[in-house]
Symmetry: D2
Subunit: 367 residues, 4 copies
């Protein structure tokens, strides 16, 4: 009796948008069909579709022409934890564990292995399904690039490209008008996007969650530039940037926004303060969702393709309950039990990249 | 005696950033030097530099390699009306007419003709200098494309490109997450950027200053899409969009922003309302300064080059006091006396482009 | 009895690839369905599909997400003139008129009006079908922008963007290495792409079919630049450029190429000659098919959308046998009988754009 | 007495164009001036300028605004080996060792350390100068990414981006016209650009120097696609691709080209053969110099910046005679004596990336 014989796999994508999801789906489908002769079922709208039975067959045709497309043809959803899911019982909304319904649905569909692509929340559920006996292969997804278990995540390169192009645009206005231009980019806990785009886009100051800043230090860097004849400056701010000893409170003033985290964050505060301290006209731009959507960069297409192919190979070799990772230039894997809950990979304030930036005169507001 | 013989011209750029300024400067310098053998003086920082005597010689070398660059190598400034200029007198700041100082400075530099590139404010001063006897050639500049006296202004095409690319990016997120994505673009009085980028970017709803909207109409368009199986929508909002019978008040809530017009405008309000009315997660993005900076589109490079060449030819034929215009596919000109104060060219709510958009099912919130 | 009542329309695309075809299809389908309630049938692979009965229903879903895509979802074909079509008769390949088969097929499908998108060849057949009584609405397609009957054709703007970006890339190499870089762009009869991209990309010399050149004049322009301290030059060559009194013979040497027109054309000849005459290292690049494919520019998306919407409106008002045109900023139409066989719209060697380019020092090899 | 005290450094760039050269120069200048207080001298036109004494002072102003620019502000040259340099002696051109002249010149300029950026040829001379006692820090440059001594070289990422965008464009034409589109990319000895862009651009076949191909295998891959309903295919060919047991002879037919390596290489041969074998219309595009020029990608800007900063730090710590390298995510260095002559880093035909591509059904013509 062949126990592990795979005939049919399922795949779902969960959490926020991220360039590279479609290439992952494409790589999984192509490899599963062309290399192993498996059938592939797409579960739409993340775990919600697993609960509702929103399944479609994925063929080579289904994934034709999606390599360069942003988004996910399987759709995604947030707040769809089946282990704590909002359902209506006797006319009331209550949260309950409906994971068995999801498991029953994939069983009915004849799915032998579940490929789950997502961030922290999505993969925590993936681990919980693995604990309940589902054969799971996980693929990590975050544009923030802050996963400790893997060297690079897809989506990050595209986000850095978008932010760098934005800085190129802001640069001409800053220079022509002797202005300070502030760009707020994503990165709630880790400043990778800010650091990389800041270096690539020629920022003069980069503010990161990992290096608390004093706005007076920022102003001093800008004033030193003026003393050297440069009457403009570019400041990149990661959305989670923190003042030394301080908290972000600016969000309060725009609490009516539908997206308080994304709109009117720290960038506005920093711009307001710098205008007062330095006297230059200062403008803030919040890059927001522009970082998450659109065609993946060539680098992200390759990386996500590799994640997808490796995921199928892991399954073929029976290594369930694992998440695909990149280590150096090699694909690898780690147990979901290990990776869930692991601390974020943060920018090292004394690391090589920050030191290199400082050597070139880029300020971080810490001194 | 040859009265009008030109030996030396001056050029300045005023007002906000606009892709195409450097190609204009390049075209003026090349044509002046190569075709007519004139010398060219650059006045830096707009009228402020005319007052301060901030002049540089412009040679073919000065303008080498700037065709594809955003911004202006001559810098620009706002609030620099020399006819009502803030100066310090006896330790107090007072406003006075210092236009004679500016005129004296250009006279000292031997400048025979002034080429002035700018928007409303800048060109109003240009007219006033013309009235005082300065030989002026004016070149219009506005990314909003709302000048009645000319068919198209440079900068507009680039702004539409940037907004369209943003819509492409937002589209993938909207589609993958069944969201409503709202993009606020520039256009305080005229909705050209919103209309063009909305059509190019596949928007489902376009809100313009010229067509007051009712948010319930917008919501209905979105609901009709849902009825056809499309669970997401893209809404483009020109920053000057108005509710039927209403006013924009949302700016109040972010009045601490250094740039209240640009950040947290109507886009946030629309998004907030739509989330409530339609139930979809809704996100707003304010494109802001990203529309004004960066490398000009190929179309804008050609157009601004044509404006620059024509300006020099106008001067060579002695047609001072005029602004260069584009009429159909021909360069032309009109008197500064005529063009200043002329009403903006607005989107025609019953015009061909709006009708075409409506025929394709795009909503404008008016019905 | 309502004779002209339209219930169902057909659409096909013929000829070479051109950015904007998908937006045209999308606009036709959306307007037909949403504005008029018609049904739409897609004929695949041009006239070949009309002959073979290769039809598909087009719904709103069919055209979802194609606005930003190059190519055509209906596919296209060349050499598919049904009035002179290669078929097998008694085991031999013979050419015969099979237009009746095509007409019978669309009649069987209940198609009331045929929307035909294509270039010269495709629209000549469209006219011939119109003569035989088919209700035809034609939409012109050429990236060369050389149709006399309309001001601008879609695809052209994208081709110019691609060529301009190529020039930006070649510029840095030319400048860093003191080289002459030659770029060959499309335009067999008309030099619009060369002229526009040459101006937008900062070319020093532009060679067009309309202005025969002498290579010694080209070399002199380059030498004059050297005399001014510019040791590099950029030359744009339209593929149909002609020597004064001469013919293109370079194609002979690469006659084994599968695409002799596109590969190894005039650009290589010009580069070879300039390297000898000027002594600089010289390199040629043939842009080729990169100009025809890929996502349409925002401008082309708007233009092709307008063509599509107007085509449907023409049909709705019973104006069959016409081709949609753009005149100034208005959509219009002209009889297929008039437009077929009309001479190409050529660059005017003494026109405003060429004169402007010459004023800036751009050479055309004619003096 | 402090022997190694650095006061003044020189920098030159040699060899072919490569995106990232300007960011390297910028990083060296900024770090030297801002971190160490050194002066910086630019040597123009590579070793030729070292011989001719073509020096300029580089200040912070010199390198302002060049981060996003392709090319090199210091210019470059080929065939400028001062150890075997063509000079005129008694009216005849002879080759001789003029390295002493170069050394004398940099000594006169007070240059303590030479920073030399270039490829194989340039760095071989760098080693030879090091052997003669010059304090040299070398920075590797090749878009081919085939240096064994470092993990990644700058320029490669941009080349892959350009090739991928070209594939995206060709894809729409291939698909719309049922064509085979062949793209020839750079890579004389190593197929990294072909492999990466092929995966990122969705190629169906990738031909590399490292994996000799049989055209019949290529045709079979294409026929298998047809059997699955895909009537088009995309083939990427590295310029050094080799037939099994064969040689490239196609270059012969275009030997009149000024750039025989670049124009009309293997891509045309492959296209010609595939058209015959498969019957589809087939077109070849030679990407050529478009891969070498233009604005560096964000990734290349970061990488080249890191190389530049590290080079200065190496000098500051007295580690002369070394080349900067990237190992994993850390900058490192290796002796010029070691790195010169080391075999190229080739694509592993049985490596992870090729295997992943094969798993997805991409053909390499080897089976």
């Amino acid at each position: 009796m062949v126990v592990n014989k795979i005939k049919r796999i399922g795949i779902l994508t969960g959490g926020g948008d991220c360039p590279g999801l479609n290439p992952v789906i494409r790589a999984v489908v192509r490899t599963a069909i062309l290399e192993y002769g498996w059938e592939v079922v797409g579960i739409r709208n993340g775990y919600k579709g697993m609960y509702n039975g929103d399944f479609i067959e994925l063929t080579l045709d289904s994934i034709s022409g999606i390599l360069h497309e942003g988004g996910t043809i399987l759709y995604s959803s947030n707040k769809d934890n089946l282990f704590d899911y909002q359902v209506e019982v006797d006319g009331k909304l209550v949260n309950k564990d409906v994971s068995d319904v999801g498991m029953e649905n994939i069983k009915k569909m004849g799915i032998d292995v579940m490929f789950i692509v997502g961030g922290d929340g999505t993969l925590t559920s993936a681990r919980d399904f693995a604990r309940k006996g589902v054969k799971v292969i996980a693929i990590p997804k975050t544009i923030d690039n802050d996963l400790a278990s893997t060297d690079t995540t897809f989506g990050f390169s595209t986000a850095v490209d978008v932010a760098t192009e934005a800085l190129d645009r802001l640069h001409t206005t800053a220079s022509s008008h002797h202005r300070i231009m502030v760009l707020e980019v994503m990165g709630r806990y880790a400043g990778w996007i800010a650091l990389h785009s800041g270096i690539a886009g020629g920022a003069d100051v980069i503010l990161l969650p990992e290096i608390p800043y004093d706005i007076r230090n920022v102003a001093r860097t800008i004033e030193e530039r003026k003393a050297r004849g440069k009457n403009f400056s570019i400041v990149v701010v990661g959305e989670g940037a923190k003042e030394i000893g301080g908290d972000i409170t600016v969000r309060e003033i725009i609490k009516d926004s539908p997206d308080p985290i994304r709109l009117g964050g720290i960038g506005i505060k920093v711009a307001t303060q710098l205008e007062k301290l330095c006297g230059n006209e200062t403008r803030a731009t919040i890059l927001g969702h522009l970082q998450r959507g659109g065609s993946p960069s060539s680098s992200d297409r390759i990386l996500s393709t590799r994640y997808g192919v490796e995921a199928v190979k892991l399954a073929a070799s029976g290594k369930f309950g694992n998440m695909v990772t990149l280590k150096g230039d090699h694909m690898s894997y780690d147990s979901l039990e290990n990776v869930i809950g692991r601390k974020s990979k943060l920018v090292n304030p004394n690391g090589e990249l920050v030191e290199a930036a400082k050597s070139m005169g880029i300020g971080f507001g810490d001194e």
